[in-house]
């Protein structure tokens, strides 16, 4: 550790302290189980949208995108576009009905809709699986950031992030996390916006070197490799556009809205917040091409300020981006931990602990499990690309929860056997491709594209199987399907008293 590490260290300590302090403030309001799971459904659109933005903009967005753009050029622009457009698809297909379903979690929704314990269990497994697939790279990114910023050993980042998240989640659940995450959105935006503005000014002052005349590969938004590249690009788009609605920490946020109408409005504000944030990473990538000679692409956001601005100014900007990156890990990990812990509480720990100990104790035990398992995973497995592994989590979510939600909300013909068959087809298909890719198996050409980007075949497969088997088992349509759809699509103004 040296003097150069000071700004990063100060930033990390500050973010940690403020996060714990806001969490403690939120604690004053957290009393009941409903507070812990869904903040008692009282979060208005502005606060909730900031919290969703804070939770959603993970390490992959804050650090990963700029690095990917720097190396891969325009084809990588689909990541930020897809992460935003996914919210639009979620808005039009599931936002309001999801809130009106009155369920706490995805498995709750599945069970309520299909009246099947088996579907519920499969959904719980998927939530935990997708959540952990998403958490591992976050912890890894935390290790990378701390090593770059303060020269800490690589295991330090995951441990610190894990400890802070656990402290906040077990103390206050969703209620305190909502305040923390709303704060973290604005912190992340500031931490990327201010340095970007300064760096652009520096670049302008230097006489705008390198503007114009990029090479073709950097400015064509299709992956290289002819037909296979075109397939891979479309598959990535499908996975990102449809996967957002299936991410456990995204869906659970819709239950914290007061009603369906607010859920929709929240989503529109989220579109604005995300769009504004995603204007920034391309700026870092562009400047990185000019000034970033010799910097590792995945830490370009952290290193560029010091490279371009000397002295105290550079230190302050470095501290700022480090704070933003650290906030990114904390907020996304917290959101995932709450979502996974919510499912584990209902399906595992509250049964093991029994009613006697109460829901809050069960939630706390579940949160420990939800954080510790992927933490160990991150310490054991190294060097999975953050954005790639997050991309695969999207593909699995798009191939499982997307068909389940879309058909469950809009088609009364869905049956439990149909849902199970579809989840199995989509989950096994995309999951196998994801595991093979993570294990490092990547043949070239078409086989590589088909395995590396499974969404284009696994999503239609899941839909077809789900619809086909449901039609074959039409006699097993749940008796209450019609009534349930009424509930999902009826505006709240028509309801007398919704126990929710």
């Amino acid at each position: 550790m040296s003097a150069a590490d000071a700004p990063g260290l100060v930033a990390v300590v500050l973010v940690t302290v403020v996060t714990l302090a806001i969490g403690a403030y939120g604690l004053r309001f957290s009393r009941t189980t409903s507070d812990f799971f869904v903040a008692s459904r009282t979060v208005g659109p502005r606060l909730n949208a900031s919290a969703i933005g804070g939770e959603y903009l993970s390490a992959a967005s804050f650090l990963g995108i700029a690095g990917l753009l720097l190396v891969g050029g325009a084809p990588m622009l689909w990541y930020p576009v897809g992460w935003t457009a996914g919210y639009l698809v979620l808005l039009v297909l599931v936002a309001a009905p999801m809130r009106r379903s009155g369920a706490y979690t995805l498995p709750d929704f599945a069970e309520a809709r299909l009246a099947s314990r088996a579907v519920r269990s499969v959904c719980s497994l998927l939530v935990v699986g997708i959540g952990w697939l998403y958490l591992v790279p976050q912890f890894e990114g935390a290790g990378l950031t701390l090593r770059t910023a303060v020269g800490a050993p690589e295991w330090a980042g995951p441990l610190i992030v894990g400890a802070v998240v656990l402290a906040n989640v077990t103390a206050g659940g969703m209620r305190s996390i909502t305040f923390v995450q709303a704060f973290q959105y604005w912190l992340k935006l500031t931490a990327l916006l201010v340095p970007a503005a300064v760096l652009v000014a520096v670049w302008w002052g230097d006489g705008r070197p390198g503007s114009g005349g990029g090479d073709a590969a950097w400015s064509v938004p299709v992956a290289p490799g002819g037909g296979a590249g075109l397939y891979a690009t479309y598959s990535l788009i499908i996975g990102l556009f449809l996967g957002t609605m299936g991410l456990p920490h995204v869906v659970v946020r819709f239950y914290t809205n007061p009603d369906g109408r607010q859920a929709r409005r929240t989503t529109v504000v989220v579109l604005a917040l995300l769009g504004f944030f995603y204007l920034l990473p391309p700026i870092y990538a562009g400047l990185g091409r000019v000034y970033g000679e010799g910097i590792r692409s995945d830490v370009i956001v952290l290193e560029l300020p010091r490279r371009m601005v000397e002295g105290v100014g550079g230190d302050v900007l470095t501290g700022l981006v480090t704070a933003g990156a650290f906030a990114a890990f904390l907020s996304t990990c917290s959101g995932l931990a709450v979502a996974i812990a919510g499912v584990l509480t209902q399906d595992v720990t509250s049964r093991v602990l029994g009613e006697r100990r109460g829901g809050v104790a069960a939630f706390r035990v579940a949160a420990v499990v939800a954080v510790v398992v992927p933490l160990l995973g991150a310490l054991a497995v190294r060097n999975v690309g953050v954005a790639q592994s997050v991309g695969l989590a999207f593909a699995v979510a798009a191939s499982t929860f997307c068909p389940l939600l879309v058909l469950g909300i809009w088609w009364r013909g869905l049956t439990a056997p149909g849902a199970l068959a579809g989840l199995a087809a989509g989950g096994v298909g995309s999951g196998t491709a994801a595991l093979l890719t993570l294990a490092g198996y990547s043949p070239g050409g078409w086989p590589g594209a088909v395995l590396g980007q499974p969404a284009a075949w696994s999503v239609p497969l899941a839909f077809v199987v789900m619809i086909g088997v449901s039609r074959l088992t039409a006699s097993r349509r749940p008796a209450h399907a019609g009534r349930f759809l009424v509930r999902l699509h009826t505006p709240e103004t028509l309801r007398s008293a919704d126990a929710g």
């Binding site: 622009l77 299709v222 929709r264 529109v268 504000v269 009424v486």
Partner: protein, 141 residues
């Protein structure tokens, strides 16, 4: 002892031909949710909302979805520049975000209008309940 009490209902619908029943209750209380009237209303609301969602998604596919194909067929577009930046970066790094926001905002307005019309139908109003409290500022910042 009888006290004379003057009962005045709120003059909600001067021309109300029938008492305002909560027909969603009637609707929900039907086995299968297949009560004749409610079923008809709900089917129409579902169709409206699904059609609206489908239109947004088709629009999204036709615009953003065509970008890779267009660039695949005409890679020389990559050399075009707008304001000194490659055209793909201007489109996908900048303009796409206000476009998505606009689509979302318009969707919310239409979806809320559909629900107001449905609510008016169920309550037995003819029309004027559809205007009023939620005349929609879209909820955008």
């Amino acid at each position: 002892m009888v006290e004379r009490v003057r009962v005045t209902g709120p003059p909600r619908h001067p021309a109300a031909r029938r008492p305002a029943v909560d027909r969603t209750r009637e609707l929900r209380d039907q086995p299968d949710g297949t009560g004749a009237v409610g079923q008809l209303y709900l089917r129409s609301l579902l169709r409206e909302q699904l059609g609206l969602a489908a239109r947004v998604i088709v629009l999204l596919a036709a615009t953003l979805g065509s970008v890779p194909l267009v660039f695949h067929l005409a890679p020389e577009l990559g050399e075009r520049e707008v304001l000194g930046l490659p055209v793909a970066w201007v489109l996908l790094g900048g303009l796409v975000h206000p476009f998505l926001l606009l689509l979302g905002w318009r969707f919310v307005r239409r979806a809320e209008r559909n629900e107001q019309v449905f609510a008016a139908l169920v309550r037995g109003d003819t029309g004027d309940g559809a205007v009023g409290d939620g005349a929609v500022d879209g909820g955008t910042p």
